[in-house]
């Protein structure tokens, strides 16, 4: 029976990749361990090894094909004694560019894993695929992106589609060109080009003095960055993920956030701490948690968590120029998502301004970062039920633009807050309190909260899914506050 070679998932959050090159060609003998192709992910170019022995019978996806969904069959290996005739019975499951709806969940494959050699079903199609429900994987599937530009973007401005990853990189590069005091430091930011490829190309442009690879030493390099900021430089400190920043919590809070106050306004600390925050995919409790509420608790810190590529760029540029310490919470799953970014010489998004992304008049949905993905999809679902949800992207968590939320609630009378973090003392709790204080008389229902469940993040795919918010939960919560 011919064995399909499937597009492998090469990182926990990979959804698709480019087939950069076929190293083996049709008719070549392959044995387990041979490199047969090169796949370009959004993080790196990876080699794909064969896991089966035989002849490369057919290449289904030619080299140079972009955006091949994970688990798409890319080639067929013929076993001993099989010839090309056997291919007639083989039906490729999905063409390359189709969305991943029919693909099984693949994000559990580690970066080191070889292409999966899925057992074949009776008709020659991959058995796993055949059993996969049509439901897309909630968190990882491409979320809808709002297309409205900032109000202050001049009419007719050209929009460029780019990933959030590219937008963040461009923001750093532009600010580094603008100001020699700006530099970036962190683990793997320079020669490796960024653990998540966010700093790609910066070393080449700015050199090793300004793009600084650090040892694995979060407490130390955070303190070092704060010291450099006190001396007047403007560091961008990348945490490989914010999970590791807990090692540096004392420097973030006691040194970075408080020194301006404790020095009576003398000692400034203009510094950006950035990196992926929140749930990733299948990395379990220590590597998958949301720090939004943690940092937003601290006076002296400014906390930003963008959802779109445009906001990521405009807010990061603003953050780098800001004379205060900024916690810039990115999201690994959103890095690869594309959106329109205004092509402007200097695109700045103001810190501390929420954005009404989708107008509505029945219920207000408040979210930020990855939570926006649930909120926007829920709004679409709700529209089908004739509930018009107004969706607000907070974008900045501290200082929190509660005025925009309150204004909306005065119109809708109902509110649901969506967050991936835990419920107790969460952002949702804070917003509920503020609405109670500032718009109590306008409320027609208690504020609803959809949050991550009050448990450490489990590893098992089904449990992980249960631990995270879902579109269905947001829809249900919105219906509940609408008494529907």
């Amino acid at each position: 029976m011919p064995i399909p070679v499937l597009m492998p998932a090469l990182s926990p959050t990979m959804e698709k990749g480019n087939l950069a090159k076929w190293v083996k060609h049709q008719g070549d003998k392959v044995k387990s361990g041979d490199i047969i192709a090169e796949i370009e992910t959004d993080k790196a170019t990876m080699e794909v090894e064969a896991t089966d022995e035989g002849t490369l019978g057919q290449i289904l996806v030619p080299e140079g094909t972009a955006d091949v969904a994970v688990n798409t069959p890319i080639a067929v290996i013929l076993g001993e004694g099989e010839d090309a005739g056997a291919l007639n019975n083989f039906h490729a499951e999905a063409p390359a560019q189709q969305p991943s709806q029919q693909q099984p969940a693949q994000q559990q494959k580690g970066a080191e894993s070889a292409p999966p050699a899925a057992p074949s079903g009776p008709d020659g199609s991959p058995a796993e695929a055949a059993q996969t429900p049509a439901e897309p994987q909630s968190a990882v599937a491409a979320p809808p992106q709002p297309v409205e530009p900032e109000p202050d973007v001049p009419e007719g401005t050209e929009m460029v589609t780019m990933t959030m990853r590219e937008a963040l990189r461009d923001a750093m590069a532009e600010e580094m060109r603008r100001d020699g005091d700006v530099f970036v430091m962190g683990e793997e930011v320079a020669e490796y080009q960024g653990a998540y490829k966010v700093t790609q190309g910066l070393l080449q442009e700015f050199g090793a003095d300004r793009v600084v690879d650090t040892p694995i030493t979060e407490h130390g390099f955070t303190g070092l960055g704060v010291g450099a900021a006190m001396a007047g430089l403007k560091p961008i400190v990348e945490f490989m993920t914010f999970n590791f920043a807990m090692q540096a919590m004392d420097q973030l809070i006691n040194s970075a956030a408080k020194t301006l106050y404790m020095s009576g306004g003398q000692m400034t600390c203009s510094i950006v701490f950035r990196g992926p925050n929140g749930a990733a995919a299948r990395v379990a409790a220590q590597h998958s948690q949301d720090y939004s509420a943690w940092y937003s608790h601290i006076p002296g810190l400014t906390v930003i968590a963008p959802y779109t590529a445009a906001d990521a760029k405009g807010l990061l540029k603003s953050a780098i120029r800001y004379p205060n310490p900024v916690i810039f919470l990115e999201n690994e799953i959103l890095y690869g998502h594309s959106g329109p970014v205004p092509r402007l010489d200097d695109y700045l998004v103001p810190i501390g301004k929420a954005k009404v992304v989708r107008p509505g008049n029945h219920v207000t949905l408040v979210a930020w970062s990855m939570g926006m993905s649930y909120a926007l999809k829920a709004a679409e679902e709700l529209a089908k039920k004739h509930i018009n949800a107004e969706v607000i992207d907070l974008r900045t968590l501290r200082p929190m633009d509660s005025a925009t939320v309150v204004e909306s609630v005065k119109k809708t009378g109902r509110c649901v807050v969506v967050e991936e973090g835990w419920p107790q003392s969460g952002i949702g709790a804070e917003i509920a309190a503020r609405i109670m204080e500032q718009a109590f008389d306008y409320l027609d229902a208690p504020v609803g909260r959809v949050s991550g469940k009050d448990v450490p993040m489990p590893y098992a795919a089904n449990l992980e899914k249960l631990a995270l918010p879902s579109v269905a939960e947001v829809v249900e919560a919105a219906k509940a506050v609408c008494y529907r």
Partner: protein, 335 residues
Amino acid sequence: MSDAPSPAKTNGAKGEELGGDALLSLYRSMLLVRRFEERAGQLYGMGLIGGFCHLYIGQEAVVVGMQMAIKEGDQVITGYRDHGHMLACGMDPKGVMAELTGRRNGYSKGKGGSMHMFSVARTFYGGHGIVAAQVSLGTGLAFANRYRKNDNVSLTYFGDGAANQGQVYESFNMAELWKLPVVYIVENNRYAMGTSVSRASAQTDFSKRGASFDIPGEQVDGMDVRAVKAAGERAVKWAREGNGPYILEMMTYRYRGHSMSDPAKYRTREEVEKVRTEHDPIEQVRARMLASKRASEEILKAVDAEIRKIVNEAAEFATHDPEPDPAELWTDITR
């Protein structure tokens, strides 16, 4: 005296004999710290200074000697036993004392207190309350010097207690890796609060704590200001010339408790008395000046009187300066 190597054991060579003017200047600086701290202790007892207050009495030669080894532009950063460093950096005793009493003309407008004072003008970067946090911050100051390609050096002070914190070694690693211009000054006053060095440290020779990073270090008689100055000059030169960090372990002693609320039951009165009578940094200089006739009793008396006047004025100022305006509660949180 169980933990301290005797001064004879230190490998830092005695400094050159200093000229009369230089000696008198050192004497004056050390005396200012001593008298200021004594007065701070009094004000604390009167309830005018609150919270934690860590006095530097006994350790004066360390900061005064080091200050003689640096030039304008070099930075100083330390932990919470910081009053001496601020005075040695040339900060106004009135502003320091007014911060201790929590008044509006204190260096931090009364919002920082004893442990949290800064002076950008005097390149004094604090004043940090969390043990050893200043070590990575001071390494960052050195990073900024290297980034800007200037020739400034960061003097980063910490105690024998802080020397056991992990971020010290994270900082050592980066400082040597990147050849940062920083001199780490371990003020070994033998006790981390109530825990003696030998009860807390597997390696009690702190000058060797950089050995695995190839950072040179030496032990210095921190009660002899000449030795401090000489060692400081060697270390600062090393760092300034691009060779990377240098560790100076200052063998010193604090006469008072860890803070004002420390009864210091972990050591004997005799131990304290012995250091006071045999190794007091100020008395050493005074005796030497008199013996070599480089200063007369009259001159020294005049210096004493001048210092008393400065300290009296500082205390007077700090007692009568108003408390911060209530509106200050909400300022300086972000800029």
